[in-house]
């Protein structure tokens, strides 16, 4: 792979109102990677993702998409290249699954091109890929958290973008649904998409990422292949957590085992 990647940020200063989250931040998203951003709470990882997705305008610096400032490009054109699963979205009252997923086609549509045969095919495919096809006519507000998240992912997929950003796609989900969503991401990555996700769980990050970005206090502490990046020293530096790293018995990827801070709990009976 040569030249600049399709998506990256240079010298970014990111801030909400008066609170500056990051200064002079530069990142690259390697083409074809499943990049995962990790770091403690409030380290700026979701903020970085929002900047890359252009939902947050950097105070200084530039997010580059295919070599051009993302904010100088037409909104719709960007939306045909880069999709986002936001941390939280609102489903309008009473909207059905099929209707919601169909909205993902917005950047491909126009006043006189409201519902092409391709729109129909892509929406059906996106629902099938995420396993929500049988829910098509159900109102979104009646679904469980796991189903709902898959519906939102289906909407992002219906945008048919080569780049897809996911802001904490597994938060609020139980472990089975987390794995389900991550397996789906892995499959999307295998099909050739470039993915960037913010994840909380280091173990999951190490297992699924092909490229890891570790952040702390608005800075990038380490980047690279998770097998090389995730070390006891790094976890100490980024999270301030003493731990041991063992190989994941399933995949061989690094598994973080926090050091026991006290003797194993021998207390019997319910806690307070």
């Amino acid at each position: 792979m040569s030249g600049n990647p399709r998506l990256g940020g240079v010298g970014l200063t990111l801030a909400y109102e008066r609170r500056v989250v990051a200064e002079g931040l530069s990142v690259d998203v390697p083409d074809g990677s499943f990049t995962v951003v990790i770091g403690p709470n409030a380290c700026g990882k979701s903020t970085l993702l929002r900047a890359l997705a252009r939902t947050l305008r950097p105070r200084a610096g530039t997010v580059l998409l295919d070599g051009r400032d993302i904010h100088s490009l037409p909104s719709r054109a960007v939306a045909r290249t880069l999709g986002l699963l936001p941390q939280s979205s609102v489903a309008p009252d009473g909207i059905t699954v099929a209707d919601l997923v169909a909205r993902g086609r917005y950047p491909h549509q126009g006043l006189l091109r409201q519902w092409s045969a391709e729109d129909e095919r892509v929406v059906a495919e996106s629902m099938a890929d995420t396993g929500v096809a049988e829910l098509a006519d159900r109102p979104v507000d009646e679904l469980s958290g796991g189903q709902r998240q898959r519906v939102w992912i289906a909407m992002a997929l219906a945008q048919r973008t080569p780049l897809l950003l996911l802001d904490e796609p597994t938060t609020w989900l139980d472990i089975a649904h987390q794995v389900e969503v991550l397996e789906l991401c892995a499959r999307l990555h295998e099909e050739g998409r470039t993915l960037v996700a913010v994840l909380h769980d280091l173990h999951q990050a190490a297992r699924y990422a092909t490229h890891l970005i570790a952040m702390r206090d608005g800075r990038v502490v380490a980047t690279g292949d998770p097998r090389e990046v995730v070390t006891a020293d790094l976890v100490q530096e980024v999270f301030g957590l003493a731990c041991r790293i063992v190989a994941d018995p399933e995949t061989g990827t690094p598994l973080v085992v926090p050091a026991a801070g006290r003797p194993s709990p021998a207390r019997v009976g319910p806690g307070v």
């Binding site: 936001p86 609102v90 006043l111 409201q114 519902w115 909407m155 945008q159």
Partner: protein
């Protein structure tokens, strides 16, 4: 859902139910219109009305229809449609079912403009101009206070409630400054009335509607995307800030011009979009259906206002206020019963 595709790659998609609602409302408006134009101290059959409209009436009929009843009907239709459009846009943009020009202080601003003219003196046209200017000024004030950080939902609602409260106070003070006769005229205006409305009120509003309705409908798809939240809308390629500015601007203009034509008729902007949504059962702003429901509502309310009490014309604002208030109470009670308050 129905789809129409042409070989050239064009495609249209519409909901059957929404089409039925829109057609039904248009028919209802037509029937109510014929009734309204045919009724009154000089009753005319629908056939007489049609004959007069096509140029076959007596001079007296020509005058009654062309100069008295038709402009009143057209004003009612246009005011209802404009208020409903403004309400539908505001509710959708702010993602707040209680959002409406009254809540944001736009109608209070229009009232301030009108009351200033009442106190200082001035004709009907000056009053209409001042009311429009007042509504626009209230809109600009909201934009000035919130604008730098973007016109996002909760902040606009809060600032709007503040602006409304301040202007209500100013309006009360202005009323105390007016002469007794002027104050009575002002209170009638503040209730919202279609009495004596002619082409001078209808035409400016029709002009604004003719320009803004296509603009609003053109933005309709973008507007329904913003209901998913700013991040999701931007991700889908909607220039959210620009869309919001343009649409709020249009809503402010519609509400101001409507208030200038008939006074601050209450509850139409709030209830018409709700009713439209219940009828179409479609998510999103339902702009066209809302506009038609609003037009039908106001014409119907004006008919009730003219006929309900024998020999006494009520201001139409009284009827919309009573009916709209009852509808709102019923709506809230029904939602509570359904357990999703």
């Amino acid at each position: 859902m129905s789809v129409l595709r042409t070989p050239g790659g064009l495609s249209l998609r519409w909901r059957r139910r929404s089409t039925v609602v829109v057609t039904g409302c248009a028919l209802a408006a037509l029937l109510l219109g014929l009734t309204a134009v045919g009724g009154g101290d000089y009753p005319m059959s629908p056939a007489d009305v049609l004959r007069t409209l096509t140029g076959g009436g007596s001079p007296a009929e020509e005058f009654i229809v062309g100069e008295l009843r038709l402009p009143r009907l057209v004003t009612a239709l246009a005011v209802g449609a404009a208020l409903a459009l403004a309400g539908a846009v505001v509710q959708s943009l702010l993602r707040n079912p209680l959002g409406s020009p009254d809540v944001l202080g736009l109608t209070q601003g229009a009232a301030t403009g009108a009351l200033i003219v009442v106190v200082l003196g001035g004709g009907t046209l000056v009053l209409a101009g001042a009311a429009t200017a007042g509504g626009l000024a209230a809109g600009l004030l909201i934009a000035a206070v919130t604008g730098r950080r973007g016109l996002a939902g909760p902040r606009v609602v809060l600032v709007g409630i503040g602006v409304a409260a301040i202007l209500t106070g100013v309006n009360g003070w202005l009323l105390t400054r007016a002469q007794l006769m002027d104050a009575a005229r002002a209170v009638l205006w503040l209730t919202g009335s279609l009495d004596g409305r002619g082409w001078a009120q209808a035409l400016p509003l029709l002009g604004v509607l003719a320009v803004l309705t296509p603009v609003l409908l053109g933005y309709g798809r973008a507007l329904s995307m913003t209901e998913f939240g700013d991040e999701a809308a931007i991700a889908a390629g909607v220039p959210v800030r620009r869309v919001r500015r343009a649409l709020l601007g249009a809503a402010v203009l519609l509400a101001s011009v409507a208030a200038a034509a008939a006074g601050p008729v209450s509850f139409v902007a709030l209830t018409a979009p709700h009713l439209a949504r219940r009828l179409t059962r479609a998510p999103g702003p339902n702009l066209l259906a809302s506009a038609l429901v609003g037009a039908v509502l106001l014409v119907a309310a004006d008919l009730v206002a003219q006929r309900a009490v024998e020999g006494r014309h009520l201001p139409v604002g009284v009827v919309t206020g009573v009916l709209g208030g009852m509808y709102l109470v019923w709506l809230l009670a029904a939602q509570r019963r359904a357990g999703r308050s």
